[in-house]
Amino acid sequence: MDRVAHDRLKWKCRRGLLELDLVLGRFVERNASALDEGELARLGELLELPDNDLWDIVSGRSDLYAAGLGDVVARLRAC
């Protein structure tokens, strides 16, 4: 991923909930360089969710996410 794409992603991970700032920050640090285009698109889809819904998914309290996003959700949950 080039510098601009990386920074754009990093900024989309700036959220209203500190919980998400922390988890998404770890995720970007660990995985950003290795994400392929499909994964990036799926992550992008998750990042469009409202903060509370996304946090419920990331923390495992909710499984209400679109089919096909499971791999990225699993990696987020591991962060």
């Binding site: 920074d7 900024w11 700036r14 959220r15 209203g16 909930l17 500190l18 922390l22 903060d51």
Partner: protein
């Protein structure tokens, strides 16, 4: 100096799209004015989304209530530093703004009779501080802030407010008379600066809790509005007052709700002692936020903290059993596992007092106008400039904010500021004032410095040092030697920040550049905080000094004003006289 910078004109610019900015923008847009709202992030990702507890209003739906009781609680909560006219104004308009929000579609929890359900919240009482709690907090499940942001955003879209998302305001534009004519802002996508000209500029940039290492605030809360105001030569008010929440997860900051202690959880020191029994024999772990935070800080300071560094205490709740934890404290287990690596069903959660809310800020009156001393009058409005929400100091929270009063503050003063700006704009000539030659000089110099400097200080390192220093020297409990040393350390850090450089100089979406610009604002906020704290020789509300443990009403019922230039302090009187009722005279604050 303005050569090359594009300029765009609006009637009004609102910097910030949290609850306060959106409420102000709505008032302007509904009046048919051209409004631009700038936000670093998508509006509904503003920090207001984190508010869960609710919004205070004396609707009297669930228990008897009265605005005058609410006013009493707020004055007392403020430890008598709040301006009583502004507090009266807020409490009297509370019902109106909450009902209005309901009519806009806010999904409040309801009673069987269809009215808004209200619940009790710390510090809110019936009958002027009686033992009976007032049911005053209106909530939308545990998503009050989220619901508020979405409701207000939809209304703004309908009213044709124009949003500039991922735009960062850098500095105010002031002319020779001191009037504010707009802002210079950075479009993150292109990395280019632009002049946004307006007849009214409303700052709604939220709190600056990221100046502390332990903070419940999201990363976005860097005090940009405060930095802009300080650099424009205007003062910041009462910056020594920061509310700490007793139970933030150590090392992460994420808030563990008071509900955990409400359900029977309690705090332990390294000897396994339930130490709150010593500090508050009756209320114990349920004593007010400042009391519990100070007790925790004392345990840590006196060597009874836990962990290899002795830097936290433990919140024990395993005795409640998995059922209570899972059913009555939803989300707590997930937070503890994720951020503390502790499963509360078996292990205690490491916690520390954590910076939560900024009572001080940009001095403003109850009409949202920014005010500063001029010609002997301590509060002359700065033409064209308004401040609302957590970045402002009206001052309704004084030395200590009551829970749920902040969301109320956003709505009341967001609306009032919007109304005042509409009136002011209508009274102005149709044409915008001419921009001064050097309108963009300051922000362009800041950018030029970053674009040329090399081999200087690293932004992340200076930022970490700042947060660590503020935490060690100026947090819950303040010691004279630590404050004095802290002031000189923060000054050194400020000097380092002036020498910071970034490696990648490219403009297009460069987050390193943005973080460097944010650091300038954190530094101004931190300096204002520690200099003001060192000077205030008393303990009041959130300021607790070891060397001056008592409140000193004879000398210190006054607001601090900090100026960036020369780190200078001035003071101005507290408005003890309300608008229509009698003054609430200072009394000892016990709960």
């Amino acid at each position: 100096m303005n050569v090359g910078l594009q300029a765009r004109k609006f009637d009004a610019i609102v910097v910030g799209a949290g609850g306060s900015g959106l409420r102000a923008a709505l008032e302007l847009a509904r009046a048919g004015l051209r409004v631009a709202v700038l936000s670093k992030v998508f509006p509904t990702r503003s920090h207001t989304v984190a508010a869960q507890g609710g919004i205070a209003a004396p609707l009297g739906n669930s228990s008897e209530d009265h605005w005058h009781w609410h006013m009493y609680d707020t004055v007392k909560g403020s430890d008598y530093l709040g301006d009583q006219d502004a507090i009266e104004y807020m409490c009297r308009r509370a019902t109106e703004v909450v009902i209005e929000l309901e009519h806009m579609g806010m999904p409040f929890d309801r009673l069987d009779n269809g009215r808004i359900y209200q619940r009790p919240f710390g510090g809110h009482t019936q009958d002027y501080g009686s033992a009976k709690m007032a049911m005053r907090a209106c909530a939308a499940a545990d998503r009050t802030g989220h619901a508020m942001l979405h409701t207000l955003y939809q209304q703004n879209v309908k009213a044709r407010t124009q949003f500039f998302v991922e735009w960062m305001a850098l500095d105010l534009i002031r002319d020779a008379e001191g009037a504010v004519l707009g802002v210079v802002a950075l479009e993150m996508e292109t990395g280019e600066a632009m002049i946004l000209q307006a007849k009214a500029t409303i700052l709604a940039t939220g709190g600056a809790g990221r100046i502390f290492a332990a903070s419940t605030n999201a990363f976005i809360n860097t005090g940009d509005g405060l930095g802009m105001v300080a650099r424009a030569g205007l003062p910041l008010e009462d910056m020594e007052f920061w509310q700490f929440h007793p139970t933030g997860v150590a090392g992460a900051g994420v808030l563990i709700t008071e509900g955990v202690r409400g359900e029977g959880g309690y705090l332990l020191n390294k000897d396994g002692e339930r130490f709150m029994e010593r500090y508050a024999p009756n209320a114990k772990d349920l004593a007010s936020r400042d009391v519990v935070s100070r007790a925790m800080a004392t345990e840590i300071k006196e060597g009874r903290g836990c962990g290899p560094e002795g830097d936290h205490v433990l919140l024990k709740l395993d005795h409640l059993g998995p059922e209570v934890i899972n059913l009555r404290l939803p989300g707590i287990r997930e937070i503890a596992i994720k951020f503390a690596n502790a499963d509360p069903i078996k292990d205690p959660i490491p916690v520390v007092p954590t910076a939560h809310y900024q009572m001080g800020g940009i001095p403003a009156n109850h009409l949202g106008q920014v005010v500063a001393p001029r010609g002997g009058d301590p509060e002359v409005p700065v033409p064209g400039l308004y401040a609302v929400g957590e970045c402002s100091c009206v001052s309704v929270h004084g030395a200590n904010r009551l829970g749920t009063n902040s969301l109320l503050d956003l709505l009341v003063f967001g609306k009032a500021g919007g109304e005042q700006a509409v009136a002011d704009i209508r009274a102005m000539p149709a044409a915008h004032k001419d921009l001064p030659e050097d309108a963009a000089a300051r922000p362009l110099a800041r950018l030029a410095r970053l674009d040329s400097a090399s081999g200087g200080e690293r932004v992340a390192e200076v930022g970490a040092e700042l947060r660590k220093t503020m935490q060690a020297h100026c947090s819950v409990f303040r010691f004279p030697d630590m404050l004095i040393e802290g002031v000189s350390k923060v000054k050194q850090i400020a000097a380092r920040a002036e020498r910071m450089s970034i490696q990648d100089k490219s403009k297009v979406f460069n987050t390193a550049r943005i973080e460097a610009l944010e650091l300038d604002n954190l530094v101004e906020t931190a300096l204002a905080t520690i200099v003001s704290a060192e000077a205030r020789q008393e303990s009041r509300g959130a300021q607790a000094r070891a060397d001056f443990p008592e409140r000193d009403d004879k000398n210190w019922i006054k607001h601090t004003l900090w100026y960036k230039e020369g780190n200078r302090l001035e003071y101005k009187p507290v408005h003890l006289k309300p608008m229509s009722v009698e003054t609430f005279e200072p009394k000892v604050r016990t709960y």
